[in-house]
Structure formats: structure tokens, C-alpha cells
Symmetry: C2
Subunit: 454 residues, 2 copies
């Protein structure tokens, strides 16, 4: 499958390299003349502005400017005053990074208020997703709600129903934790053998943040919750979609479900539910109710529209799986990945992300031959529970076609399945919970494409 | 000391609460009437938009709109379509958070190109500093350098000097790590008993990010570095300040010094040295050379202007300490902190940050009585080496004046000193490396001020 198979045909291929094609050719042509010439010429071409007194300059005698090695054409940034501090009290990325954006897949949904924008995984590093690039999934658009008017009610099977202001919530015991959030429909296009072109569109309904808030169990205890017997919580959002989801007490009792106001050090972003969102680690994103306004304690699952009609898994026999909330262990190579291009043969760092809704990632194996041979990748620390884990592994590309895959295992022993294994159980007609191994084909010309192995 | 003692007199007091004074009075007046009334009235006032069918509503019969409990004045965000996805391909904070900014201290330096902006620590959560709020310290202004023209040279005592493009660096083995960066002059105003009003101005030359890049030792090895005998590296930036700093090989050999291109998941921000910055964990910020263009290997410290004239510690006997680069163990309570106001007596979460340039934070103790009694705070995980650690501890305020302090210990056993202990050794005339215990005084009216205990 190639990029032209993308169902919308609207994907703009992001330039992944800093040098354009001409720049790449020039650098490698210079490199071919020998390393010493390469250094001299690349350096002169770059007008890197090294001081004329540097010992390397004296050795390599670059000829720039008027030909006198002592007089360099220094760039403006080495000779003048730059921008002052606090040009903007809230900074933004370089203008040269303007192509690194979250992107909508036009036509995926009928309106842009009930749609998705995908995070540019192929351009990201580490495990923290910049809040400005966090994927979006709205059911009726996003709002910037006045926090002084927002309230959270806790009611249902509680002795003393409560309504909290933001100020009251922020006085309570606070915790901060790193967790991934993944939409249950992430990689959903791939069930039916449709290979969308880039990691942004295959896996980009995935982000990871440090969340800060109050454990939900604290609020239930303050309200005198009756926790004897089987109990479930209904979480309700304040936007027009009236999103409501059932959360099992098993997760809440552990203290890991949070009523969060903070994300990546600052208040939640409006697209992520400002001023309050439920954080349900390991569980699909739809349960992380945004604009959270109400928590109700009950004694059975609520069976809401988004639990009975949506977010159910269509099985081969025509039945649906319901309440399949946990995001199973999964991984994806983000570089090299579809839409990127390898500049030349030689050394590359293969990097990607792994995660599990059941705990920590224990191991990630990487194959460059379509799954015949596997090597174990290096995991960057920290490796945290229900959090993204960054992996890296060395690779020397010999210039022949290659198929790159990653396969994650979590600390329960669960191993990420192949498409063949997954489809044997779940068929091909689901939308949700596709955690199969992703394959990227490196072509002889260096272009990387999404392929599906049968 | 009160806010009026701030040397510039220009500090705008940021509103720290979501309710204004009138809102606070109203909520607490309602609360005084009893919890049930409070719930009913606060809920009605907030027009929180809970669906009319909710059981809590049925119980509490709020009277809003035309008085019929079944007809609610629902807010616009509960009834209409919101904003579409990708309103901006790169998101930004809520308009209600516009006061959370990095701020310059006017008059601190003669020009805004050689100045500082402080991170708003009192408004931040967790350990990750949002890149848009990362503190700035420029010596000749910041630049947005074209990465396709930027080069990094490695020269000096190496067999094969090298010049790297960004594309070449990004093919090399990559690591991602969380580290704090603190300016050596952070808290510098406090040496001489000047108490600036807020945590932003006392401790705000401090930030923490996940950095991604190539270990510097890898580049030195590629260049055939001669590492026999004592060795030092000179790092040089490409901006007009020609910032040059000596880095000892002991840090580089360990693999922890990075040539970084990534910060918090994306490319470095221009104010932080885009496209390349040196990351020197545990060491004062000036050594984290921005716009990094050259690494030279030598056999002695370089004694540059920013090592001989600046960034030296003036001792009581008139001598200077030089090459005092490691940021010793330190901590600060960020809430409650100067400029904030406690709304009422009762429960509060005391929270703050601790860090050490020598390793991990082992313990943080908190006092609310000016250091007579201490309790050990809860550390949020992960606790990482040379990284910020978030601590939290419960406190019930009885309404009487209190002095809040935190005291950190690192895994070397070093304990953060009091001002008395620090000044006994270092005097009061230094600018750099003040890591003393910070005191915040809570006044009977709830206002919090910076005080220095003798």
C-alpha cells in the first residue's frame, strides 16, 4: 500500500529533513570527495561563524568571504543583538518547525466539531507530548470554559453530595503522574487493510503528559460514598455531547483515577477539557471525560450511549464486545516511518514508542526484515506504568529494501500480536482496539511506506 | 519584608485564585449556612448545566431559570457546537490563563537582550516546565537560526575533526532524559537580605524538561578524540555573545552530557538555543551553551571571560571561587508562596520543588513554624537524578501567622542549609549559588510574603 491509498487523499507530506533535496545531494557529494574536503567545504558553505582564531579554522583554512581566512562572512546572529526576553510572555516553536502540527484527516467525520486531529508522532522525541501537539478528539467541539463558573458535583450513593469549585479542589491533596492517553479507535483504519501513509495518521491518536490532580477516591470519601458491594462511577462532561462513561471502582480504589486540572506543568488546555478532566490510566481516551462536571456513584454499569452504541468491538460472528476499555500493549516505530525518507546508506537510529494499559513495558524487540529476526531495543528511562516508553536501537542500512517492525511486551507477559494473530480472533471489521504490530517498508530509493503483512 | 521591597517595584501580582474576592466571599458565606444550602446555592449560581434528570438535582431541587427545576439555564457550552479541531495546528493555553507568563524583572539588566525572564513557578504543577514558560537568560538576545545552515564542529585534540549537519546528528544514537536547568544566579537577590515578592522572582530561573540528543562522548569518539591524560572540552555558541564554557571530562565520560536538539518532545525552542544546545546535567545553566556550534578538546580549563570575570563567587575575604558549577541541593515551596493568598482557614496542600545537581532528592522536610518542627513530605514519582522532584504535604491552617519552609536532602547525604549556615561560610555579597532554605510568611489575613529569618 502506498500513500495514494490514503482514503482522503489530502495528506500533505511533511518535510522530515532539515536539508532540501539539493542540500542533501551537495553534502553527500562533498562527503564523497573525502572527509577532509567535506569538513572544509561544508563548513565554508554553512558560514557557521566560528571565530577566526579557532584552531580548527587555522588547520583547515576555509576560504569564505573575500578569500582571506581571517575575515569571515559571519551570520547576523553572530554579530548583532537578537530578540529581547519576553518577546511573548508565552513562547512558541521556531518558525522552521511550522510543519510540525497536529492534523485533521479531512472527510474522516462529517463535521470538524466531531472530529479528530492527529499528533505528529514522526516528529516527536522522548515521551512527553507537547500540549500544543496533543491529539484532539471532540464529540461536539471544544470550549474554553470560565473556571470561576465551573463546578464539579459528586452525587449518587453518597451520604453528603458535594459541589466543588476549582479553588476548593486545588486545596486538596494533589498528585502528579505521567500517563499516556490513546483513543480506542487509534489505528482503526488499519483493521480493514487500509494503510494510511504516516505514523501521524496510523498511531497519532496517542499522547502522553504529566497530569496533576486529586485522586477521585478522595472526593468520593469526602462525600461519604457507600462503597460496600459492587459499585460503579458515572463521569459526565459539561460540553454539548453530554459525554458519560462508566468507570469501574477497581481502578478508582487503587487511587490512580484522577480529577485532573494540571497537564504538563500548567492548567489543562481547552481542547483537553479545561478546567477539569478525568484521568483513567490505561483506559481508552473516551473515558477520560473532559469538562468534567459530575461524578455519580451507582451499583451497576450505566450503559450510556457511548457504551452501548459507540466504542464497542464488532466481532467476526456479528456480536459486539462491550466495556473493552483497557488499551492493550502496543508499540510503533516513529523513525523511520511512512512518509519519511532515508538520506543515504549507513547508520540510523531506529526509535519509537511502546505502551501498555496494564502496567510497564518490559521489552521491545525490533525487526528490520519483516519479523524473521528480532533484536531487543534499549528503553529510555524512566519506564513508568501506563505511560509511553521511548525505545532506540542502532541500524546500519545497506541500501536494500527492508521492513521495520517493533513488538512490545508488558510486565504481565502479554506480547503485542501480529495482524494475523489479531485478525484470527477479532476479524477485520472492528474500529477499536487494534494493537497489532506495525510494518514500515524502506524502499531502495530511501522512501518509507506503510505496508501490511498478511 | 513585604512586596514593596522588590527592587524594581514593577511586579504585577498575578491573580492566583479562580474566584475573585467577591466570589470567594460569596462561596464562603454560602458555606457558612450549612453544607446542604451551600451545595444548592453554589450549584444554582454556577449554572453548571447538569442534566435535569440527575438524581442529585432531583434531591436538591435547585431553583434556576424560571423557577421550574426541570428547566435549567444551560450554559452555551452544554447546548451548542464548540470550536472545531485544529483551530490552530499548534494549540495554546486557555484565555483564562493569560496571567501565567514568564516575566522580566525590569531594571535588573540594562538591556532586554542581556536579561532574564522568570518562570511562574507558583502557577506550575508537577516537574515538567511547559516550553512556553521556560525561563530565559540571554547574553545578547535570542535568535531563530535556520537549522539547514547550522553546523557543529568538533575539533582540537582529535584525530579527525568533524563538522555535523543537523540531519547527520539526528541519525546518531539518541537518548532522552529529564533534567532541571537552573541559572547559577537563581535566588541571587536574596544574598543581601533583599526579599523579592514571589517564587517566580526568587526561584524562577529554574526549569525542567525532557531533553533528547546525542551523548557528547559519541561525537568525541567519532572524531578520534585523544582522551589519555587530563582533558577538558570548550563549548561555543553561535550567538553574538560568543558564549564559551569549559566542561570537565568527568561529566562527559559518564555519557550524561548531551548535544540536544529535542526538548519536551519537540525541537528546542529558539529562546533555548534552537537548533542545538549542550545539556550538562546538574551544572549551572550558563554551561548549557545555546546555539552550540563548536566543541574543542583541550588539556586544560579554558578560563574564558564567562569563567574568569562572570559566574565567580565573591567570598567574605574578597577572593573569588571559580569553576563552582554544580548546583547544590535546594528546594522551594511554590504553594503557598509570596503573593498568593489563603482563602480561609482549613485544609491546604503544601507543594513545592526540590532538586540536586549531584543526584536524586532523597527527602524533603517541611516546617510551618519557621523551622522548629519538621514533617517529611511525600515525593511524587518518578524521582530522577539531576531532575526536579515534586513534593506535597497536608496542612490545616488555623488562621494564625505561620512561616512555611522546605529543606531538601540529596542521596549524597547533603542537606540544604539555612541562611545562617550558608552566610557563615559564603558571606552576603555573592550573586551565585544561593541554595538556602526559603521562608514564606502566612499572615493572619491570609496574605503570603517573602521573609528572611536571621
Amino acid at each position: 500500500m502506498s500513500a495514494s491509498n490514503h482514503p482522503t487523499g489530502q495528506v500533505r507530506k511533511a518535510p522530515e529533513n532539515f536539508l532540501d533535496a539539493q542540500g542533501v545531494r551537495a553534502v553527500f557529494a562533498e562527503a564523497g570527495k573525502g572527509r577532509r574536503d567535506f569538513i572544509r567545504n561544508a563548513f565554508a558553505a554553512a558560514v557557521a561563524g566560528t571565530a577566526a582564531t579557532s584552531s580548527a579554522l587555522a588547520q583547515s583554512r576555509p576560504v569564505v568571504g573575500d578569500g582571506d581566512p581571517a575575515i569571515l562572512n559571519l551570520p547576523a546572529h553572530s554579530t548583532g543583538l537578537g530578540q529581547p526576553v519576553v518577546t511573548d510572555g508565552y513562547g512558541k516553536p521556531s518558525k522552521y518547525e511550522a510543519n510540525v502540527q497536529r492534523r485533521q484527516s479531512p472527510g474522516l467525520t462529517p463535521t470538524a466539531q466531531a472530529s479528530v486531529s492527529f499528533a505528529p508522532l514522526q516528529s516527536l522525541f522522548g515521551i512527553v507530548t507537547p500540549s500544543g501537539l496533543h491529539f484532539e478528539r471532540h464529540h461536539q467541539g471544544w470550549w474554553d470554559i470560565d473556571p470561576s463558573k465551573h463546578r464539579l458535583m459528586v452525587n449518587g450513593m453518597v451520604k453528603a453530595p458535594k459541589v466543588f469549585t476549582l479553588d476548593e479542589l486545588m486545596r486538596l491533596p494533589s498528585v502528579s503522574r505521567f500517563h499516556f492517553i490513546e483513543c480506542g479507535a487509534n489505528t482503526g483504519m488499519e483493521w480493514g487493510n487500509v494503510a494510511v501513509p504516516t505514523a501521524q495518521y496510523t498511531h497519532g491518536m496517542l499522547s502522553c503528559s504529566e497530569f496533576t490532580g486529586v485522586p477521585l477516591i478522595t472526593l468520593l470519601e469526602m462525600a461519604g460514598a457507600d462503597l460496600k458491594g459492587e459499585r460503579f462511577v458515572l463521569a459526565e462532561g459539561a460540553d454539548g455531547s453530554s459525554m458519560t462513561r462508566t468507570i469501574p471502582m477497581s481502578l478508582i480504589r487503587s487511587g490512580e483515577v484522577l480529577v485532573a486540572y494540571g497537564q504538563n506543568g500548567e492548567m489543562l488546555r481547552p481542547e483537553q477539557g479545561y478546567p477539569l478532566r478525568l484521568v483513567v490510566p490505561g483506559v481508552q481516551g473516551v473515558s477520560w471525560v473532559k469538562y468534567l462536571r459530575r461524578i455519580e456513584l451507582g451499583d451497576q454499569p450505566y450503559g450510556t450511549k457511548d457504551e452501548n452504541v459507540h466504542y464497542v468491538d464488532l466481532m467476526p460472528d456479528g456480536q459486539h464486545r462491550q466495556y473493552t476499555s483497557i488499551q492493550e500493549c502496543k508499540s510503533v516505530v516513529t523513525t523511520p516511518s511512512g512518509g519519511q525518507m532515508l538520506l543515504d546508506k549507513g547508520f540510523y537510529n531506529i526509535t519509537g514508542l511502546a505502551w501498555s494499559g496494564r502496567g510497564k513495558v518490559k521489552r521491545v524487540d525490533v525487526s528490520v526484515d519483516g519479523g524473521r529476526n528480532w533484536r531487543t531495543a534499549r528503553l529510555e528511562s524512566p519506564v513508568l506504568s501506563k505511560c509511553l516508553t521511548r525505545f532506540n536501537i542502532d541500524w546500519v542500512w545497506d541500501g536494500s529494501p527492508a521492513i521495520i517492525q517493533s513488538r512490545a511486551m508488558d510486565d504481565t507477559g502479554y506480547v503485542q500480536p501480529s495482524y494475523k494473530q489479531l485478525r484470527a480472533v477479532r476479524g477485520t471489521r472492528s474500529i477499536y482496539h487494534n494493537n497489532a504490530i506495525q510494518s514500515w517498508q524502506v524502499q531502495a530509493n530511501g522512501e518509507v511506506a506503510n505496508v501490511q503483512l498478511s
